[in-house]
Amino acid sequence: MIPKIAIEAVTIRYAGRAGAGEVVAVEGVDLRVQEGEFVCLVGPSGCGKTTLLRAVAGLQPVSKGTIQVTRSDPSRPATAMVFQGAAVFPWMTVLENVDYGLRTRGMPYAERTAEAQRWIRQVKLERFAEAYPHQLSGGMQQRVGLARAFAYNPEILLMDEPFGALDAQTRLILQDTLLELWQTSGCTILFVTHSIDEALTLGDRVVIMSARPGRIMGEERVSLARPREAVQLRSDPHYGEAFGRIWSQLREEVR
């Protein structure tokens, strides 16, 4: 089976601050993601996982190796990225934000409004469709970010620590929301996080990266049954075992 994303022997270097020479962010990374799979990348902060994700999105050039994305439906956009923090446009209402990707794709007004409203209902913000982001909490803003990404209907979603800035409780709720959205849309997700808990809750597979330069140290197949619910998972014995295995690999890298 052809993988959806094929990252082969990728090295990414970029010029550091003046005088600091080159920074090697990622070195010799091989990673394959299958269609419909939810893969989480965990690693210590600064290990180059965000750089790798940006490279898949085409926002960062690769120094060595190849990244190949296989398209299966040319009518859908290939990738969309959900950013750290929500990065919703403060000057647009919730509806206009969610509608954004549909508008740039040139979808007719009536159709795209209906589509945007559908996703707004999915993230339970229908009462706030006309609100501006400054009127919403951080969690609600990130829900707008999720709705915007899912409404765009890409084949692959690239998520860069989207819930990193939220408090623990809001995080749990948004993780459930994300799982629901993913199940209805069936897209492929590559998700970057530094939280092992988050990776285990969401992913089919957790890929562990080392400290800079980022290399892949190993991976953990998550055998927890779906549909999952963030809080209940914690009491599953498999959860604790998997957590322990990942932590034993990561511990050395976190200083």
């Binding site: 990738t79 950013f83 990065a87 403060p90 990707g101 740039t104």
Partner: protein, 563 residues
């Protein structure tokens, strides 16, 4: 403690003025060189009652408007271009950076050499001075935009054009508004210099003339007048900003130790629904500008017309609140508006008396205007007060019948425009009536959007609005007719030569209008139609300002070519 400090800040300038006054009277400060505060006020009153002050200020305001418009439009557009295009930045930035430090006054002689002592020379001097500042400020504002937003746009496949309209422009708008404010104050400074060069009129000219005659009190009066103008302009821009930049969180004023008087003012101000005042001020300003375009203008009367129509509007709103409360139309359910009674801020009786007082103020101003213009104002005024009162009062309240739209159409459209025009010109023709129709359609559309939203609740309580009589399908068509009629009426009046060509700038709001019409068809839910109402009101505001703007441009160009 806080209250004491507030008093100190009121008293300290008063004491300064008082000491100054005494020093001049005692002869410590030489009367030949130092203005005397009381005499300055006297002169100011004198100058404004003879109309001199308004004329001089008017001419200067005209020069500033045109000069600033030209300079800032070019500046902002080039600034945006430099901000988003590296190539444009490389080409233009060195030139602008070289020009900017030159004292702008030093450039005026060049312009005068090229164009002579003409009006265009003065206007262009202003434009050239304002342009580089606006340009650099705008470019800097674009540069400050968080790069994440551009990445998001890129990530969602936005074209350069999309990126400009959806990211660069809206994100830099708050800073641009700020530069506009600074630029305008700067223009006020410059106008004094510009009018040194062969101007026959203007506030700067008045100041220079007074100085050369040692008329220090008149000189002082001129300075006070220009300072007040600057303050007014800043206040006006601050007042307009929230409607232009609705996404900005408003600063929450910490209402610590609000005095009872402040509370009363706030409560009453809110009860009058100040956000609806543009419905009255836009037609009032429009009528005044049409008259000014045809050569009739008196600032004082123009201001009175505006204040008068605001008073009538406030009165209508208050009476409306009172009767809606009595009839039980507004409760927690209704996506209500005034609500001072519901919030227990004011008693129904207070609201009613407040409404009557507002009508009294409006009528008082109206009577004065009757005395300076003529009986037509009396007739229009009486009809307006009656319409305002019976809009929701009495057994046959207009708003609860199918006549709501037509009443609003007539009274918030032609009546105010024709009245405002008549106050200036003393006579009126059909052309003014026709020119008022676009905003008449649009103001009726606001009411209709409200009725479309409330159809279900209105039906339950037995209101028979036009929307209910027509039924959902034809009510939607009515919305099309009203919004479409706005643009159709405008285009027809332009073709017939009644409205100037420049009023077509209102057409830039057409996409919003089309958008709203589509939304009306797609939705029947009150929650979904609520934004339609809000945006229709906003459309009226923007369309109205642009329409007035079109007339002002025509007026400015006419005056400039006349001189």
């Amino acid at each position: 403690m806080r209250l004491n400090r507030r008093w100190i800040s009121v008293l300290s300038p008063l004491i300064l003025v008082l000491v100054w006054e005494m020093l001049v009277q005692a002869g410590v400060l030489n009367r030949r060189f130092f203005p005397q505060p009381t005499k300055v006020i006297e002169t100011l009153i004198d100058l404004s009652s003879t109309g001199t002050l308004w004329n001089e200020l008017g001419i200067s305001a005209l020069r500033i408007t045109v000069g600033f418009l030209i300079g800032s439009l070019i500046g902002i557009s080039l600034g945006l271009l430099i901000g988003i295009s590296q190539t444009a930045s490389a080409a233009l930035r060195p030139i602008i950076t070289a020009i900017n430090p030159i004292p702008k006054i030093a450039l005026i002689p060049f312009v005068v050499l090229a164009l002579g002592f003409t009006e265009w020379a003065r206007v262009l001097s202003l434009a050239i001075s304002v342009m580089p500042i606006m340009l650099l400020d705008t470019a800097a504002a674009v540069g400050r935009i968080d790069s994440r937003y551009f990445e998001v746009a890129q990530n969602y496949g936005a074209s350069r054009w999309d990126t400009f309209w959806t990211v660069a422009l809206p994100a830099s708008l708050p800073s641009i508004m700020n530069s506009v404010k600074l630029g305008l104050s700067y223009s006020l400074t410059l106008i004094i210099g510009v009018e040194l060069f062969g101007a026959r009129q203007g506030i700067g000219k008045l100041i220079w003339d007074s100085a050369s005659l040692y008329a220090v009190n008149k000189l002082g009066a001129g300075i006070v007048a220009i300072a007040l103008t600057g303050w007014l302009i800043t206040a006006a821009i601050d007042a307009l900003t929230p409607s232009l930049i609705p996404w900005q969180p408003r600063p929450v004023d910490p209402r610590i130790e609000e005095s009872p008087i402040q509370r009363q003012i706030r409560v009453w101000w809110r009860a009058t629904r100040p956000w609806s005042f543009t419905a009255a001020t836009i037609p009032a300003v429009l009528g005044t500008m049409i008259a000014a375009y045809q050569g009739h203008f008196n600032l004082l009367h123009g201001v009175l017309v505006m204040v008068g129509s605001i008073a009538l509007q406030a009165g209508t709103n208050l009476i409306n609140d009172f009767y809606d409360y009595r009839k039980g139309t507004d409760n927690e359910q209704s996506l209500g508006i005034g609500g001072a009674i519901q919030r227990k801020d004011l008693t129904p009786r207070q609201i009613f008396l407040g409404g009557i007082s507002a009508f009294a103020v409006g009528s008082g101003i109206g009577l004065y205007l009757v005395s300076v213009s003529g009986p037509l104002i009396l007739i229009l005024g009486i009809l307006s007060v009656l319409a305002g009162f019976f809009y929701t009062a009495g057994p046959a309240a207009l708003a609860y019948t199918g006549l709501g739209e037509i009443t609003v159409f007539i009274f918030m459209g032609p009546v105010i425009v024709v009245g405002a025009y008549y106050v200036q010109a003393g006579a009126v023709g059909w052309d003014v009536f026709w020119a008022s129709l676009p905003i008449a359609f649009l103001v009726a559309a606001i009411l209709h959007a409200n009725n479309l939203r409330d159809m279900e609740t209105d039906r339950r309580i037995g209101k028979r609005t036009l929307a209910i009589i027509l039924g959902r399908k034809y009510a939607n068509i009515e919305y099309y007719v009203l919004v479409g009629g706005t643009y159709a009426a405008l285009i027809v009046t332009v073709i017939l030569g009644i409205s100037p060509l420049y009023t077509l700038i209102t057409l830039i709001t057409l996409p919003t209008a089309v958008n709203l019409m589509r939304r009306v068809v797609l939705n029947t839910e009150p929650a979904a139609l609520n934004p339609v109402l809000r945006k229709t009101a906003q459309l009226h505001q923007r369309f109205g300002m642009l329409l007035v703007g079109g007339w002002v441009i025509a007026l400015c160009l006419k005056l400039l070519s006349g001189n």
